[in-house]
Symmetry: C3
Subunit: 159 residues, 3 copies
């Protein structure tokens, strides 16, 4: 029996460096012919936001969350040594120098490799994020869909 | 052979949002008929603390840790945008509005679904937490017990 | 068929307490006869740094990162209640009192148990860390090697 292997990553974190780790592992696993899913929940949803403003109707609290959260992968901050934004600049500079892919490039590569980019509907609701604000290839699903995949998965990670 | 699937979550984090994620996944997996264990270690132990003061004898350092750590799930803070306590208030308000379960309610549901809520004895010792301070249904165990479960597990996560 | 079980931990975090958790689980799994690998990436690489200064040639940004990051396990800080260095001191004091192993001791035990301590070459490059700066038993590898192990693994964790 040769079933396809699978990698299922929950991306909870909204940190640039943690999201990078998630997308590097995901792209690696896809190159290895795994079926790969990244399930974005809570702050991890920010990696999927379009970087332009999208006009949607929101309640007051939801509007506040949207305003305060980074709009898209490129705006995210570091989990360590953020230093008021200096850290991400340093990391991006050093990445360019070493020809490492940036987070937005890693996400594009994931889309090219047909990695399933899933947004958690429950937390979208909580944080007031609408489908229109997220990248067009994003799929919407809940924890049940995540579990259905992960219970057959080979590499399951919470990041 | 139809063995029961299993989900084994290590809850290391003492953040309200991360604990919510852990308990949402755990309750989902239990609904899917998994055998589910949440192994609480380090700051994750705080989710299991009773919210009232329990009189127990402690050394000085242990007393300091107990004082400084949140007493129970409802007192925990956010991993992001905590904003001196404003963040948890906003999240709780928005959760109520969307009829989402609060963390204490998710823990109750876990108890109802017979999810194994385990407290790590080694870190209880380090942080000076006594059995009497934790919820009554909590089981005590060490890393060996965790591994015995996880090595047969389907969904293993560190949160 | 009695294949050896395996535990594969990605240590992304540079926090003393999270690294402790990683090494406690790893040592436990090795005692259970698992093949164990800890793949150190991003800030987790700091756990593998020698505590003395090693003279190597670096670019400006890489030099800054090296300077600002903790040199070795004993210099790492806590994920919670760090309190400008007070937290780690309290934890270490309480650990000594309870005869718990310190992080450097846990790393030594891991080496004795032949746990594979792997450093991620890509992030070493980004953070400007050279092989000479890391513990002598460290193996160098990339995400492909991690995945080759983890896809057959029993306990896979991202810490």
């Amino acid at each position: 029996m040769t079933t396809q292997k699978s990698t299922n990553i929950i991306l909870f974190s909204g940190d640039y460096d943690k999201a990078m780790a998630a997308y590097i592992i995901a792209n690696g696993a896809a190159a290895y012919d795994h079926k790969v899913t990244i399930f974005h929940t809570f702050w991890g949803l920010n990696a999927l936001r379009k970087d332009e403003h999208v006009a949607v109707k929101k309640g007051f609290l939801e509007k506040m969350f949207s305003k305060m959260m980074p709009r898209g992968a490129d705006q995210m901050t570091l989990s360590k040594m953020n230093m008021a934004g200096m850290g991400p600049k340093m990391i991006k500079k050093v990445m360019k120098k070493h020809n490492a892919l940036s987070l937005p490039q890693l996400i594009e590569m994931a889309q090219d490799q047909e990695i399933h980019l899933v947004a958690c509907t429950m937390t979208m609701d909580l944080l007031g994020l609408k489908k229109e604000e997220l990248l067009d290839t994003v799929e919407l699903a809940g924890v049940a869909a995540y579990l259905a995949g992960a219970e057959e998965g080979n590499v399951n990670l919470f990041i």
